[in-house]
């Protein structure tokens, strides 16, 4: 696994943790332990996403940019084996 793949895997893991915690909070909105867990999971996700995006490009449309060339479509599509 190259650096790009391992940084992407870190984002996938952190985002899944964040997502699954949100699903739990949807039905347990006043669970203080889960709220605290979510806060930490969000920080971990933001850090993983920043590390990936800083080196390899945007993960979502809202973080896409470019000074001379639009970078949204420059990476492999997620279903490609290179992704």
């Amino acid at each position: 696994m190259n650096d790009r793949e391992s940084k992407l895997l870190a984002v996938q893991q952190a985002d899944f943790v964040l997502y699954d915690a949100a699903l739990f909070l949807d039905t347990h909105p006043e669970c203080v332990g889960a709220l605290e867990f979510y806060k930490n999971a969000k920080l971990a996700y933001q850090q993983a996403a920043a590390e990936y995006e800083g080196q390899y490009g945007p993960l979502s449309r809202r973080s896409a940019n470019g000074s001379t060339c639009w970078n949204w479509l420059s990476q492999p599509m997620p279903w490609e084996k290179e992704a």
Binding site: S60, R61, W72, L73, S74, Q75, P76, M77, P78, W79
Partner: protein, 198 residues
């Protein structure tokens, strides 16, 4: 993967319920040229696109079509709030009502349920992009027809927005088609299927 934003792409605020209009507009939810078919078409076809610009464009437009699917549902929802059974009968909504009450279901104006036969994924980028350009025009005609049948500005404004998006998508698909043609033999675009043949 996808994420949900808690906003519509274009606001829907319909003051007066109108089941007759709902019965017509729902065709863009589950009808032959509707938003669900559009989204499934692009999100399925994108895997056969031979370049990342075309694959990315189909992803982005297929995603936007889901937002349009939601706008249509919001319109049908608001158009069918607070109706009496007498109004439902008088406005011709009884056939839908008996099967779905005022729940949102993917049907055409005719009552036919949505079917995957409304779109194709042919595994040939030239073929698929031509289908998409035709599909955008068919949806544009449907919105033109809806605009002939309604007169409430609360309905007209979101429908005009959706109609305009069909024109933008048609333009973008034409540009994507050009990028695919640029990868082919300019003397014969049909020399091979770029999505299958090496």
């Amino acid at each position: 993967m996808w994420d949900y934003d808690r906003k519509l792409q274009y606001p829907v605020k319909i003051k007066n319920p109108d089941a007759r209009a709902a019965k017509i507009i729902i065709t863009q939810y589950g009808g032959p040229d509707g938003e669900l078919g559009a989204s499934m078409r692009y999100l399925s076809q994108r895997f056969a696109m031979p370049n990342r610009m075309a694959a990315g464009l189909l992803t982005d437009i297929g995603t936007e079509e889901l937002a349009h699917f939601e706008i249509i549902a919001a319109m049908v929802y608001q158009l069918t709030r607070g109706l009496t059974v007498d109004q439902i009968k008088a406005q011709g909504f009884d056939a839908y009502f008996v099967d779905h009450t005022t729940g949102i279901y993917t049907v055409a104006a005719s009552g036919d349920p949505w079917t995957a036969t409304y779109f194709q994924s042919k595994g040939d980028a030239i073929t698929d992009l031509h289908e998409n350009m035709a599909a955008e025009q068919k949806a544009r005609t449907t919105y033109d027809n809806i605009l002939r049948l309604v007169d409430d500005p609360d309905i007209i404004e979101p429908i005009k927005f959706l109609r305009e998006r069909e024109i933008v998508h048609y333009q973008r698909f034409g540009e994507a088609l050009r990028t695919v043609q640029d990868q082919l033999d300019s003397r014969n675009f049909y020399f091979k299927n770029i999505s299958f043949d090496n």
